[in-house]
Amino acid sequence: MIDLATIWAFIIAFAVFVYVVMDGFDLGLGILFPLFPQKADRDVIMNTVAPVWDGNETWLVLGGGGMMAAFPLAYAVLMPALYTPMIAMLLGLVFRGVAFEFRWRTQKARNKWDLAFAGGSLVATLAQGIALGAILQGIHVEGRHYAGGWWDWLTAFSVLTGIALVIGYALLGATWLVMKTEGELRERAYHLSWILLVAMLCAIGAVSIATPFLAVQYTQRWFAWPNIILTAPVPIAVAAVTALLLRALGNKNDHQPFFLVLALFALSYAGLGISMYPYIVPQSITIWQAAAPANSQIFMLFGVSILVPLILGYTAWAYWVFRGKVRPGHGYH
């Protein structure tokens, strides 16, 4: 039952999820940037994440590199299929990444780099969401190659998932600011969290309703007996987390909203996993078909089992070093 390919599917899924957890709020801050036009606010927002953004994005490299290593066929099919969203994401990440350093190095062009940070974050998020939708709706494969067109990724469904991810990351960003800032800035982040939460619930609902219509597999997976016993807890848990989230926001709690939104993401992500498994390219390539030879997967498994806990350890340490609220002119405390 548990074989190497399954283990690796979980490892890649884990890496991608950690990426979403770590870079989601990070990109969300960029999406929210235009709503905080004052320089002092922007400085604080940037500083809440400046020491860690680089590590956050490394998980994206692990997701991509790990997939090439463990499921080379899937990587080779998905990347050409997602050509335009991938290029757009990479260029977006270039703009927002350099803005972290550049905006402190210039007076005249600061607004330009603020725009690069916001625009780059928005484009990268939209591209990730669209890529997700494009994967879910299925990809045309012949032999060992992508055989679809250059615009197959663009459908109403993929645009919906793109917008949903923008809303989701923005909500993560807003609740992150509730946790990491104070005063008027925190108040505004708090109000934004309410609006974005409502929007996110609508988005989850819309994507959940649309997904089963994409392919027969998804419908059976979710609604056929006896699967429904296993799948029903997911929407129930979403409802429970939402209730907790509403209470935490009502109480103006510092930390809970951010972590509860992460829980919402985890549940949505689990839902995705339920829909896709055991396909890595839905409807065409399973994880076993795409798996690299066992000796490649075993070779990496050694490294992953030792190094990933270590990485999580020192990453947690870095977050701990820069814990607490960021104040303009006062620092962390």
Binding site: G55, Y75, A76, E101, R105, H145, G303, H330
Partner: protein, 468 residues
């Protein structure tokens, strides 16, 4: 647009363009990370203020360069899939794990400790901060280890088999990782990174010494950089020679192209100093040659026979003019760097190290030489192994994605526009930082990050702006 273009050529152009931009930053940050670790160690050991000033001065530059290296690197790791998916499918089981190990052992280490290195001195104390600096420096070296191992396997594949799906698989991981050209390439590249950085540091030091010979910071950095150039340049020339002999053994066609040897020479081959290699006529036009010298260098015997490209099927020829000329640019710069090192040694011996405007001007001029040499060296080795991606086993034309020229062409244009806009700005910011000499009480890249008594806090910045 791009209808009728060759998608393979466009994909190669895209890889060459994005790679050339990317390689500049790691080449600099590998050396600079080690230099920063040395500066901090000297500061901890001696408590001399000049070292921490220099550390903070170069740390700001490191932060900007490292950021650009990260974002241009993410592009590389996805390009294997977007433009070279057949390559990714076929070599993924071998190359993929090496790159995954690079991410796990190097990228996370660098990124994880970078934040503490940049902003954390006052939060974690000097000792733990030094550990963070050391981790970043070690991370850059581990990264070089894995990526050069992967590249070397593509140049001199070993320890592999081919499975039923036509994929390369590892038969012996140790043989894959420590493939024949890897040790040479690793040494050559790491030394190149150290030299590149020392030339930049020396150039900046010299620039400020030209204005004021008494500045403490520029004196220290200039002296350190010139020691590095003096000591490492000869070692690098030796390492390059050994690397060349290794290439002669495993990729003879590349050496033939580098040397411009279209014909075989049974009785000692001449060293072609300059000339124009003409592939259609299969000869070097306007050649200036030294008889038998090539055989002496490559075979250590004046009359040793050397085979030429006439022994290689024409469809397996690398593009000779590019390989030939980029090699000469690299070697020429290598000897100029050696000259700078020796000149500085002479001036140091005569006690004129800080008083010689001629030396300082030379050093300023040589500031960017390392970057050009690194690029020329990579162009030599990468064009010289064409037309293969995995040497002798997988042709470049069989490595690409099922591409359409318009898609590759458009993304190439997007990369060119964005890279020139973004990285030009970054280089200007770095040059602006370099234009200021390091001064007493130099601040790190804490920028508006608060928690410091002095420096630019947002509040102070607002006050200054308000006062204008």
């Amino acid at each position: 647009m791009f209808e009728g273009w060759d998608a393979v050529v466009l994909a190669r152009a895209q890889f060459a363009f994005t790679m050339s931009f990317h390689i500049v930053f790691p080449a600099f940050s590998i050396g600079l990370a080690s230099y920063l670790a040395v500066l901090e160690a000297l500061w901890l050991a001696t408590k001399r203020e000049v070292y921490i000033n220099l550390f903070n001065y170069w740390l700001k530059i490191f932060a900007v360069a490292f950021g650009m290296g990260v974002v241009s690197g993410i592009v590389m790791s996805y390009q294997f899939g977007t433009n070279w998916s057949s390559f990714a499918d076929k070599t993924g089981p071998v190359i993929g794990p090496m790159m995954a190990y690079e991410v796990l052992t190097a990228f996370f280490l660098e990124a994880g400790f970078l934040g503490v290195m940049l902003f954390g001195l006052e939060r974690v104390g000097p000792r733990l901060h030094f550990v963070a600096t050391l981790m970043v420096a070690i991370g850059t070296l581990i990264s070089a280890f894995w990526i050069l191992s992967a590249n070397s396997w593509m140049q001199t594949p070993a320890g592999h088999a081919v499975n039923a799906d036509g994929q390369f698989v590892a038969a012996d991981w140790l043989k894959v990782i420590f493939n024949p050209s890897f040790p040479y390439r690793l040494v050559h590249m790491v030394l190149a990174a150290y030299l590149t950085t020392s030339l930049v540091v020396g150039g900046v030091g010299a620039w400020h010494l030209l204005r004021d010979q008494h500045l403490a910071g520029p004196r220290v950095m200039f002296s350190m950089a010139m020691w590095m150039a003096t000591l490492v340049a000869p070692i690098q020339i030796l390492a390059g020679d050994q690397h060349g002999l290794n290439t002669l053994e495993h990729q003879p066609a590349k050496v033939m192209a580098m040397e411009g040897h279209f014909q075989s020479h049974p009785n000692g081959a001449p060293l072609v100093l300059f000339g124009w290699p003409d592939m259609a006529d299969a000869k070097v036009k306007y050649a200036i040659e030294v008889p038998k010298l090539s055989s002496l260098i490559l075979k250590h015997s004046l009359d040793a026979p050397l085979a030429g490209l006439d022994t290689v099927p024409r469809e397996n020829w690398p593009p000779v003019p590019i390989t030939f000329w980029s090699f000469r640019i690299m070697v020429g710069l290598g000897f100029l760097i050696l000259g700078l090192g020796l000149f500085s040694l002479l001036m140091r011996w005569r006690g004129l190290m800080y008083q010689s405007p001629l030396l300082h001007r030379f050093a300023v001029l040589m500031g960017p030489a390392g970057f050009i040499a690194v690029l020329a060296g990579w162009i030599t080795t990468e064009t010289g192994r064409q037309p293969f991606t995995v040497y002798g086993l997988l042709r470049t034309t069989d490595s690409v994605s099922p591409l359409a020229a318009p898609a590759v062409g458009s993304s190439l244009i997007a990369f060119i526009i964005v890279y020139f806009a973004v990285f030009t700005a970054g280089v200007i910011y770095i040059l602006r930082l370099m234009a200021q000499p390091p001064h007493p009480g130099e601040q790190g890249p804490t920028k508006d990050l608060p928690a410091r008594a002095a420096g630019i806090t947002p509040a102070a910045g607002a006050v200054v702006e308000g006062a204008r």
